[in-house]
Symmetry: C2
């Protein structure tokens, strides 16, 4: 991030007509945005929501309340404009891009094989990066993929340790039997890949999925282009877990939009060192929590750019 822009934005915050620090995290958000945009007065004119969809081979083990066909059906709903992310991206003033990744070709069942071969994983990373363009002021990422909270749990358990049960939750709403099946699948996957090379790429391709790798690719490309990112819930954060273990600063350009109701998310956010902006019991995915958080970021910039300074207002300085 740009140290000069950060200092200028912080100085501007301290000159605005309010007691110092009284806007709390809104002040920090404005300074964060300044640092990554490289300007004292950051804006969101070009904001994008990138939602990636993929299917997972391990769903044959009964880990989701819904059939894999729902992934494609929901992509159709995104395209038709009827899903939550359509409404939320619209309310947040974001351009919505939906990328469906080989939905008719699920990943391999990761309890017995790597989810993706090298070429497939690289293709998914590239598909994510391709959605990120220079000039974007903000990127939010989201996911759609029946079964992907199981993949996210596997990525977290391999990256950060802990038992599979500590990372598995109800997802879209499985019952106790479903949770037990999810735990068993994660245990089998970890055992199958126990001797794999301990690198971020190997963890991602063996235990991730196409939409998860695409999210990682998008976040990395945003970092290269110094575009600030808002992460969504458990899945989008888990996409970064393998890399964050190796390079903790990789999430420095990211805000956590919200804390999901999925129980593994709060634990994951602690590992990533991210303090979520919102905590509203959401657990939908699709980038929904991240899109909602954009309203908070817009409000932070509205105060940062729109308020009068003490000098302009003629209010007793040092309020």
């Amino acid at each position: 991030a740009d140290a000069e822009a950060i200092a200028a934005a912080r100085a501007r915050q301290d000159s605005l007509t309010k007691p110092a620090g009284s806007l709390g995290r809104l002040e920090d958000i404005a300074v964060f945005m300044a640092g990554w945009q490289g300007t004292a007065q950051p804006v969101i004119e070009q904001g994008r929501a990138a939602i990636f969809a993929g299917n997972h081979g391990f769903v044959v083990h009964g880990v989701s309340a819904f059939p894999a066909s729902v992934t494609a059906a929901m992509v159709g709903n995104f395209t038709a404009g009827g899903a939550a992310i359509n409404a939320l991206a619209g309310a947040a003033g974001l351009d919505l891009r939906v990328v469906a990744l080989d939905l008719d070709r699920p990943t391999a069942d990761f309890t017995v094989a790597a989810a993706m071969d090298e070429t497939e994983c690289l293709a998914a990373l590239s598909a994510g990066a391709a959605v990120v363009e220079p000039g974007l002021h903000l990127l939010i990422v989201g996911d759609m993929g029946i079964g992907n909270s199981t993949a996210a749990a596997a990525l977290c358990a391999r990256s950060y340790g802990g038992t599979p049960a500590q990372w598995v939750g109800p997802g879209t709403g499985v019952d106790a039997g479903g949770i037990a099946r999810k735990v068993a699948v994660v245990e089998q996957a970890l055992a199958c890949h126990a001797n794999a090379p301990d690198t971020p790429f190997e963890t991602l391709r063996r235990l991730g999925g196409r939409e998860i790798a695409a999210i990682a690719g998008a976040v990395l490309e945003a970092r290269r282009l110094r575009i600030p990112v808002v992460l969504d819930g458990f899945i989008s954060c888990a996409a970064l877990a393998p890399l964050a273990v190796a390079v903790p600063a990789i999430t420095d350009h990211c805000l956590a939009g919200h804390c999901s109701a999925e129980p593994g998310h709060i634990r994951l956010l602690e590992h990533l060192g991210l303090d979520p902006l919102l905590s509203l019991g959401m657990r939908l995915g699709e980038g929904s929590g991240a899109a909602l958080a954009v309203s908070v970021i817009r409000a932070a910039l509205a105060t940062h750019n729109g308020m009068a300074t003490f000098a302009e207002a003629g209010v007793a300085d040092g309020l």
Copy 2:
């Protein structure tokens, strides 16, 4: 609230293309708005931010980091459009009304007398009610008044018990000495009015202030007109404390916009039975936290009204 509209809104939520409950509090907010607006598909076309300003006689005891003249200076800043609430009300699409209540005539020093006589308190309540009109879809309330976190602490201590120190905080930023003076002032005020009749009106007029009574008047008028309200921080919630002790359901038409950094606020919210939408370390007043929360409410209604149902989208029912 309208039970039929609530049932219809809940049924609509359950028909939308998402797992049941996956939008968390957004779903509850949409149903809440439906109940008070009396329609299955509530909207915010006419939303108003009402900010009340008043001055306090007890500030002679050195309870604020700023002189009382800042109240009028900030009202000037509101009028000129340079304050945080201008930016935040604009971002939230709210009509902003600022009501300055006799700023050149502070309340009486409540350590030795009632802050207001009956006529003054009724006038302030009426001034608050006058800002609320039939047809508003949402009202947010906020305050400006140097010293008013001390009045709020006195109202809370008299209403809910506890020691003054449990309700006093740094406000806009006093140091330890300032906090000690605030505690002493609240103790003196409680002692002075210990034998006063134990009614909401007497507590409000003796320990409140004009802007605080106006907030209470606005919230009551909104209730009469069935207009949902978003409360701001410690001051606006404290305005309701005397009445809420007597009539706990009085806040049923209210959402708590946020939890302030002022330490008494979280305790007060628990007494009021309100779960704040946001917790971002804000402590400015002016309705700033409530205005920010309106973005969340707008997003809740955008999903509620804008999403496709399972039937419309042709997605497998019962997702």
